[in-house]
């Protein structure tokens, strides 16, 4: 257990000591990092593990006959075990390391999807999807003639499950849906979604890029067919993500990329492929990044997601209260259940402009479309500013955000 929570407390200042970047100054001001939904900062536990892996455990993995190759393989496969436990997968072979969530979704689209989805077949997405869970399906629309259908949200950003259910029909071949919107923070009741889809025999891919950072994930309880996570939002390194897939699906899927590691035999005339997960991990994998992801998972679990949730809920409640007090702001996304992020726009100012202004106060937020253009169209905006919170943020940082926005408001009014 992490010392910051060992006595039942949540000592956020102790947690912050684990993140060296948080002590830096930006433009002469203390850094207030509120861009966590884009990418989270890294604790020493991860940074040290990366250094250790490169300094004393590094070689290429698998089939090695020397000490370092075996050490690297053990650490890499150990990371797979950690991710499998983190997701509560039934088998470690159900976890495939990828470069990130984007590659994981493309893998499913170009193997499982392409083999099962033809002209006129339908794929159901929510309007809240990130482009990484839209464009791979557009590929199937362009190349296979598939039809994409969109599950709506209401004006507060609540997912409308009754409307979703109406979209399912005999032509539906797949549901691909986020568990938590990266723009609105809205939580999608994916267990209900999966239940409805499975009742019609439709497989479901869940994009857990945001949700897995904050929510408990149990792929067996959800009964999802695929679940996707990315490492860099989970306090881990960039260049690493994971795809969970039910083994019965993975075992029948064709490879995604071709190369070393993923084959059983290659001859001049033919090739046969290895078993999952290696069938889907062509070439030298992101060895050290996977080891770093394992360390990140350990770190999050040492604090405990329940404690993190309670802390982030306090941040969200306070942030919404403070931002509602600023007249020129309009908060977009007030779903009944939403994660710790706030999207908003400012009267008379483009999101890019006031995000740049508050950066001078040391406050880092994201502005733009957040790779979710269909959703922004739905809400009739071209850009929003998004403050997203993590386990190391404080109420004082919420105050800093609000004060910086008040200053920006005066500038643009």
């Amino acid at each position: 257990m992490h010392p910051a929570v060992s006595n039942g407390s949540y000592d956020v200042n102790r947690v912050r000591q684990d993140f060296p970047i948080l002590s830096m100054q930006v433009h002469g001001k203390n850094l207030v990092y509120l861009d966590n939904a884009a990418s989270a900062q890294k604790p020493n536990a991860v940074l040290d593990r990366l250094t250790q892996a490169y300094a004393s455990e590094y070689a290429n993995v698998h089939r090695g006959l020397h000490y370092l190759a075996n050490a690297a393989t053990e650490a890499y496969e150990g990371a797979r075990d950690k991710v499998a436990r983190f997701l509560n997968a039934e088998r470690r072979e159900e976890v495939i390391f990828t470069r990130g969530a984007t590659e994981a979704i493309n893998l499913v689209a170009q193997t499982f999807g392409r083999e099962r989805i033809g002209a006129g077949d339908e794929i159901v997405l929510s309007i809240m999807e990130h482009h990484s869970n839209i464009v791979p399906w557009h590929f199937l629309r362009e190349r296979q003639g598939a039809v994409i259908r969109w599950a709506p949200v209401d004006d507060d950003g609540n997912f409308l499950i009754d409307e979703f259910a109406k979209l399912l029909n005999a032509r539906t071949r797949l549901v691909a849906i986020t568990q938590m919107s990266n723009v609105l923070g809205s939580v999608v009741p994916v267990k209900e979604v999966i239940g409805l889809a499975h009742a019609r025999g439709i497989p479901v891919l869940v994009d857990g890029s945001q949700a897995a950072v904050h929510m408990d994930v149990d792929v067996r309880d959800l009964d999802c067919d695929f679940y996707v996570i990315t490492g860099h939002k989970l306090y881990g390194p960039t260049g690493i993500g994971a795809l969970y897939g039910k083994y019965q699906h993975l075992a029948t899927m064709s490879p995604f990329n071709g190369g070393g590691e993923m084959i059983r035999e290659v001859s001049c005339e033919t090739v046969t492929y290895g078993e999952p997960p290696h069938r889907f991990e062509a070439g030298t994998p992101p060895i050290v990044q996977a080891i770093g992801l394992g360390a990140a998972v350990d770190y999050v679990q040492s604090i405990g997601k329940e404690r993190i949730r309670r802390h982030e809920r306090s941040l969200l409640t306070y942030a919404q209260e403070r931002l509602r007090g600023i007249n020129s702001l309009r908060i977009i996304g007030t779903a009944a259940d939403k994660g710790a992020l706030v999207s908003f726009e400012m009267k008379n100012a483009h999101a890019h402009d006031f995000a740049t202004v508050i950066d001078r106060s040391g406050v880092a937020v994201r502005a733009g479309t957040h790779c979710a253009m269909p959703l922004l169209d739905r809400f009739g905006v071209t850009a929003t500013c998004r403050a997203s919170f993590a386990l190391y943020n404080t109420l004082e940082e919420v105050d800093a955000l609000a004060e910086a926005l008040v200053k920006a408001q005066e500038l643009f009014s």
């Binding site: 006595n7 039942g8 407390s9 949540y10 000592d11 956020v12 609540n158 499950i161 938590m180 939580v187 009741p189 209900e192 949700a211 904050h214 929510m215 408990d216 329940e306 404690r307 949730r309 309670r310 802390h311 809920r313 306090s314 969200l316 009944a336 259940d337 994660g339």
Partner: protein
């Protein structure tokens, strides 16, 4: 939360009886809607410590003890989990509780 949303979001609460007293642990899952409704009296079954958000006590100090009685003032969802704001009048605190940390008073699950 609207009734429509509340009706759709049917959580599963795990109710754990006092293992030390009964020498056995009974885990039972029970689907419920409308339990721990606003105004309902409840009894805490776990120690709830100040995680740093309560300003009038030290971090780590207990706010609620097993057996303390309170009244549910609000329920809400966050990240798929259901939470309750419970007022413990005798201790003059409002505490955020989970369903498995309390029982309804006067029911078969109330061991006190």
């Amino acid at each position: 939360m609207s009734d429509r949303i509340a009706a759709r979001q049917r959580p599963v609460a795990r109710i754990v009886c006092d293992a030390r007293r009964r020498r056995t642990v009974r885990n039972m899952e029970r689907r419920f809607t409308g339990e721990f409704a606003s105004g309902e009296p409840v009894r805490a079954t776990a120690v709830i410590r100040n995680d740093g958000m309560y300003p009038h006590k030290d971090v780590g100090e207990p706010l609620v003890h097993p057996g303390d009685t309170g009244v549910v003032r609000e329920s809400w969802r966050f990240l798929g989990e259901i939470y309750y704001t419970v007022e413990f009048v005798a201790r003059s605190v409002f505490v955020i509780m989970r369903g498995h940390e309390m029982v309804r008073m006067g029911t078969a699950f109330d061991a006190a």
